[in-house]
Amino acid sequence: MSTGPLDRARNAMEGRTSETGFDHELYRLFPTHRPRPEGEVEELEKIWDNPTGWGLLTVVNNNYIGFFYVAAAFLFFLLAGILALGMRVQLAAPLQDFLPPDTYNRFFTMHGTVMMFLFAVPMVEAIGIMLLPQMLAARDLPFPRLSAYAFWAYFVGGLCFFASIFVGWRPMAAGSCIRHSHR
């Protein structure tokens, strides 16, 4: 029998051998039967309890961060959808001037960019952060503070990025018009 790394991995994957030396016979001990001492659940609740009010800004638990994340990504979905409606109104009939050309250009650049970068990728990542620990029965993701950081960076950066459409820094379709002189 060959024991290359691939074979070892396959054997381990199919549960024939142990990967780390852990004795699989120990799995037979579960579910255990002896009653658990009182107060364990209360202690878990206390340790995992979350701050409330303004303290919510400091939470790192995936239940909250995942939910914030999904909600934020959905917000950008709605905002980019409104831009799409604007474009469709402009195109409802030929030669309309509901949106002037450079505004239209900004709208479609923003619609595409926001849908891709602020909605689609963050949304699937958000659903992952929300569901994965539960699906894997872990208490949280391995780096809770990193996911909090990733969310807030995305949210703050995304809002500023979107707001740029209102304050004249908006990204234009490349080269469509030259209005500002540089520096």
């Binding site: 142990s18 990967e19 990728v121 208490r139 949280d140 391995p142 503070r145």
Partner: protein
Amino acid sequence: MYPPLTSLTYSPGINTDFWLLGIGFIEISAIAGAIEIIVGVLRTRAPGMTLDRMPMFAWAMLVFAVMIVIAFPSVILGTLLLELERAFNWPFFDPARGGDPLLWQHLFWFFGHPEVYIIFLPAAGLMSMMVATVARTELVGYRLNVLALVATGFISFGVWAHHMFATGMPRVSTGYFSAASMAVSLPAGIQVFCWIATLAAGKIRWSTPALFVVGSIGIFVMGGLTGVMVGMVPFDWQVHDTYFIVAHLHYVLLGGMVFPMFAAFYYWNGMTSKNALSERMGKWVFWLMFTGLHVTFLPMHLTGFMGMPRRVYTYLPDRGLDLLNLVSTIGAFVIAAGVLLFLFDLARRFRFTTSEDAGNVYGGGTLEWLPTGMYSTRSIPLVRSREPLWDDPDICDDVAEGRYFLPNTVTGLRETIITSPINAEPQYLQLMPGPSPWPIGAAVFTAAFFLALTVQAYAFSAFAGVVALVCVLRWLWETDRPIQQETADIGAGIVVPIAITGPSSHGWWALNTLMVVMGMIVFMAIFSYLYLYGINPEVWIAPPSLPQTAGIAALLVLALGSARLSRRILASKPKGAFPGQAPWLMAAIGAALLGAAIWWDWTGWSGAGLDPTASGQGATVFALLAFQACTVAIAGIMALYLGYRSGRGLLVGPSNVTLDVVVRFIGYAALQGLACALVVRLFPGG
């Protein structure tokens, strides 16, 4: 966003800078999430959940995260290079000085095409799980599906240039990319057939998620078919940049991602909300969105054939486009009505909760439907099959009564079990950090750093950068606390160590993933260097002398050695003993050697007469040097942080996570420096 249109000449003002830095910044956040997901999926699965028993969504997220780690560095590099060209006039994309505008397209689409699958794969994972539940039978072809996910990931990196058929590539490349584009539809097809087979094998209950799931299969297949059409080069030339493409991409994205997402909203709503969403209204939402989608995008195939170009703000009357466009507009508002109705239902029924949730409304069989609180499940179950809740009717009670792993807290801190990557055997107990204001502080100031860069407020930008850095260090400060207890009983008398160091630790895995990200940036930068050499070799100058190159390499090897020595010294100390100044000093010396090497490298090239603004060679070489300089700066900060911790007595023998991370990073920086220095100095050489 293609140069030369986005170069300073044709896009003055800060609009483009804002786009570039904004996108670059958001991608950093995506990469942070991807690292989290890779380590989470591979190391925090419940005991017994072998790779073969992992939920399909976890598989999909694993492939997704790996693809992000490989693809996103390319676009980060692309945006950095374009920003460097705009801010400092380094001619990466300027053909007059040995750059090439097509380089941007290669960098962008190497990311851009996998991006489509990056969005599609997790949605496919969600679909695979919901399909099984709505059909009330297990997924047909689990392993085939996993294979399809992995194959999609692989092939999608071989098709980027199919977005560039119209750029006049060599015919052989065009043929290859066309064939690969068709090959990538195979794994997607396999998944669709698995879903259809599952739905056919089971008995469908027509709930709202079921409608969205089945609807999305139909829409996705339609988008896939037009995709195969566009994959053929002559056809692509015909419809390139018309509304046919708009129709195709909206069918793919709505069917492949948006509809599965709505299905998932309904399906998993019970996990986070006190009330289930309304089924009656959900059906209305579905039919409005489904009809609206076809009314909007079906006519666009026709307007595309008639030659209506995309990205143009209007069109002329009497070209046969008037009616079709009006229909599309009406359809768009029908979709909007569906979304509005969904929002109304959310406002009425959705109430966020972590413990009193509506629960398993649709009868799923995977672990997320175990009874949970903020601490997730009371005890962490032993997984014996792919759908434990269907196969073991007692599992919910057993988990809630604490009859499985870790029914309590061992150390009084937040903790979870880390298991082995393939077989999910329990390995050790990880201590987790709790709430903290520092991550949000770091995030806000990172955003401020990038924003200030775009408006050229360099002083404020530097200030925000420093504050962000302090926040990160402060948040890390308490994550590596010395603990008294060495082992933990995680149930049934099974004892595992607490918070280990070395190759099995989750921190080590995260750091390795980060190194892959940085390595990919360097790899794509070297690709750019070679690409520009291939395009325009005559403007290139000879590199500095060979002895100088050898000297730089020697410095870097020494840096690597001193980093390794630092860990050796610490490892020789007995448990809990303070190791003195030697370990952190060795790390600091390593970082200093890195600094000396990059300084010598940089001045060497300037001395040889290379100017970053002069040629494509100058621009790419100095871009590599600048990236290495940033890496070295981070290594230096890490060494000082280690020194500070050491001074506070937090560094004790025989091993320490912080020291491990710092010296491994210094070692990596040395190898990266070697790659940067050697490739560009030895090839093409004098």
